[in-house]
Amino acid sequence: MYVYDEFDRTFIAERAAQFRDQVARRLSGELTEDEFKPLRLMNGVYLQLHAYMLRIAVPYGTLSSKQLRKLAHVARVYDRGYGHFTTRQNLQLNWIKLSDVPQALEELAEAGIHTIQTSGNCIRNTTTDQWGGVAPDEIEDPRFWAEIIRQWSTLHPEFSFLPRKFKIAITGAPHDRAALKIHDIGLRMIGNAGDETGFEVSVGGGLGRTPFIAKVIRNYLPKQDLLSYLEAILRTYNAHGRRDNIYKARIKILVHDLGVQRFAAEVDEEWSRIKEGYLKLDSAFVADIRSRFIYPQYEDLDDDPGSLRRALATDAKFALWYRNSVSRHKAPGYAIATLSLKPPGKPPGDATSGQMEAIADLADEHSHGEIRVGHEQNLALPHVRQEDLPELWRKLDALGVATPNVNLVTDIISCPGLDYCSLANARSIPIAMEVSRRFEQIDKARSVGRLHINISGCINACGHHHVGHIGLLGVEKNDKEFYQITLGGKADEDARLGQLLGPAIPYEEVADTVERVVNRYLDLRLDENELFIDTVKRLGIAPFKETLHAVH
C-alpha cells in the first residue's frame, strides 16, 4: 500500500475544494457548459446518456479495505448502490448528480481517493500489472514508478491541455499484464547487461478508429531518467500533435506520420537538453517514495500445505475454482486469489456496495487489508495464506464472486455501451450477458480454455475489441445495431490487432455466431492444449468465415 502523508492529503482536499467552486460556478451559469467541460473532465465527470458519470481512480490498481469501503459508501449514498470497474483501473458511478459530486469528492479525499485526471486531454491514471509487488516473475514492483509518474503528472502545468488524452502503463514483469502495447506510452522493466534495471519504452499504441500497436523507441532507459524522458515525449507531442481533428490527435498518429525513427530522434533531441536537469531522479527521492509502500509481514510458511491438499482432493468445486482463479505468489505459502466480477448473465465488472464491503472485510481477514483491481475488470486479494483458501472460497462463493471463469470465454471485457454511454452506437452489456449465458455450464467454458472476448459499443474501443481473441464492435446501420467480429487480437507482450471476419451482423445473431466460432475452433484445434488464439494464428481467419453465413 502507498501511504498518503499530510502533503498528499492536503493536495487532494484542495483539489476537491477547487472543483466545488467550479461546480458552483457552472450551476449558477457563470461558466458555460463549453468552459466547464474540460474542468469537469479533468475531475472525472462525464455527461452520459442519462446522467453524469464519475470516474474514480484506483492508482496502480491497489486499494486498502478502508478505501474500498469508502467507494461502497459513496456508491450507495450518491449513486444506485453499485459501481463499474473499468479496463483502466478506475471505478465508475453511472448515476451521480452533478450537485452531489463535490460532496462525494470530499468524502473520497478522506480515504485518499480522488478522480484527478481520470478524463480529459491530460495524462490519465497510470496503470500497472495488478499483481505488482506479489508476482513471482517480477523484476521490481512497478507501483513505485507508477506513483512517481502519478505525482509528476498530477496537475502538470505544461501538459494539462494536450491535443488528446494520454495513457501510460507500466509493468515490472516480463509477462505483460497491463496491456502496455495499446497505451500511448508503455514502460516495461528490464535488466541491462550489468546489475541495473531500467525501462524499455514503447510509444504510440492505442485503439479507437485507427488502432496501432505501440513501437519501441528506446530499448533501455535508466530509471533515474524516467521523468526527463517522459517530459521529452510529452513536450514533443504537445507542440506537434494534431489539434485540427480529434480523430487524428492521439500521439499514435504523430508517431505514424513522422515515422517512429524520426519521432524518436525528436524526443532524443529534446531529452538531451533536459536529462541532466532537475527531473533527474536522485536515489533519496526514489527511496522516499519507496518507503511509503508498506508490505505485509509475511509469515514463514510452506507452499502447498496439507489442509489445502486435502481440500483439493475432497472438494471438486473448490478445486475447480482453485485451478482457475488462484495464482502463485512470490512469498512461499501465500497465493493471489482473483475474484471474478463476471458471473454469467450479469454486466461484466459491476460490484454492488454490499459486495464491496464484504470484500473489504475478507481483505482484512485474509489479505492484509489489501485489494487489487485488474484491467480485465476483476478484483484480486493479493496476500492470501494458502491454508486459508478453502475458507475464503466458501465466503467468496456466497458473495457471488467465485465464478471459476477467469480468462475463460465468459470472462468478457466490455464497455458500458449504449445502456449508459452517449458515444455508443450499440449495446455492449446485453451482448456480454447473452454470450456468457451460452457458456454458463462451466465444463463447457473450461473445455474451450483460455479465450478473451472483448466488446466495444462504438469505434472508440473502450472494450478493447481490437485486442480480444474474439472482438465485437457495435456499429449502427440504418438505425439498427450491428456488430463487426474480429479474431486473433492479443493485448500481451505479443500484442496484435484482430482481423475482421466479414460483414457486420445484426444484434440478434451475435451470440449464435460467437457460439459457432467457438465450436468451429473446437473442431479445428490440434488437441485441447491448443488455445483458440493459437488455432487462429496457425490457420488464419479463413476457416472461421463460414460461421458468419450459417444462418443465411
Binding site: R15, Q151, P157
Partner: protein, 174 residues
C-alpha cells in the same frame, strides 16, 4: 478584457500594431511575428520604446532566439481554452532561453488556467472576463502545494507553492 501584471489589474502600456501598419519607434508596441522576422535590423535595434511580439502557438519559440535581447515582451496565444501549446513555449522561453521580459497570455484566457500559466512562466495576462480577473489572487491560492518542478524548479518535487506575486490578504479572501 482586463490586463493583469504583477498579480493585479493594470493599464497596458503596450499597443498592438497590426499587419502592415507603421510601427512607431517611440511607442511601446507589440508587433506581429511576420513583422519581426522581416524587419530591418535598424527597425528593431534603433527603437526608443520597448518592443514586444505577438507569437503564434504553432511557430517554434527557437526562431525568436536572435531577437530576444531586443524584446521586452512576448505575447503567447491560446486560440481556444483547450489548446495548450503556449504552455510549452512559455517554459522554453524561460528555462531554455532565459528570457526575463514579460511573457503574456492572450486569447481565451480564463481563470482556470491561471495556475498552470504562472507555473510555466507567464507573468502577464489578458483576461477575457472581468470576474476572472477579479478572482486572480484567490485562484492562485487554491493550491498551497505542487508535486512537480516546472518553470519554478528551485524547490524540487513535492514542495509548497507560493504565487510569485505580492497579494494582499484582502484580495486573497475576496
Amino acid at each position: 478584457m482586463r490586463y493583469i501584471k504583477n498579480g493585479a489589474v493594470a493599464a497596458d502600456p503596450f499597443v498592438y500594431v497590426e499587419g502592415d501598419e507603421t510601427v512607431p519607434s517611440d511607442v511601446s508596441a507589440i508587433v506581429s511575428a511576420d513583422w519581426l522576422l522581416s524587419a530591418a535590423k535598424q527597425q528593431i535595434e534603433g527603437r526608443s520604446a520597448p518592443l514586444g511580439v505577438n507569437w503564434p502557438n504553432d511557430r517554434p519559440e527557437s526562431e525568436l532566439a536572435p531577437f530576444l535581447p531586443y524584446l521586452s515582451l512576448i505575447a503567447l496565444e491560446f486560440p481556444v481554452f483547450r489548446d495548450g501549446r503556449a504552455f510549452t513555449q512559455a517554459r522554453l522561453l524561460r528555462e531554455r532561453h532565459g528570457f526575463k521580459g514579460e511573457v503574456r497570455a492572450t486569447g481565451d484566457v480564463l481563470r482556470d488556467q491561471f495556475l498552470f500559466m504562472v507555473r510555466t512562466g507567464f507573468d502577464a495576462f489578458e483576461v477575457k472576463k472581468a470576474a476572472d480577473a477579479d478572482a486572480f489572487a484567490k485562484v492562485l491560492h487554491e493550491f498551497t502545494l505542487r508535486y512537480q518542478p516546472a518553470a519554478d524548479p528551485q524547490h524540487g518535487f513535492r514542495s509548497g507553492f507560493t504565487p510569485p506575486f505580492p497579494i494582499s490578504a484582502q484580495e486573497r479572501d475576496a
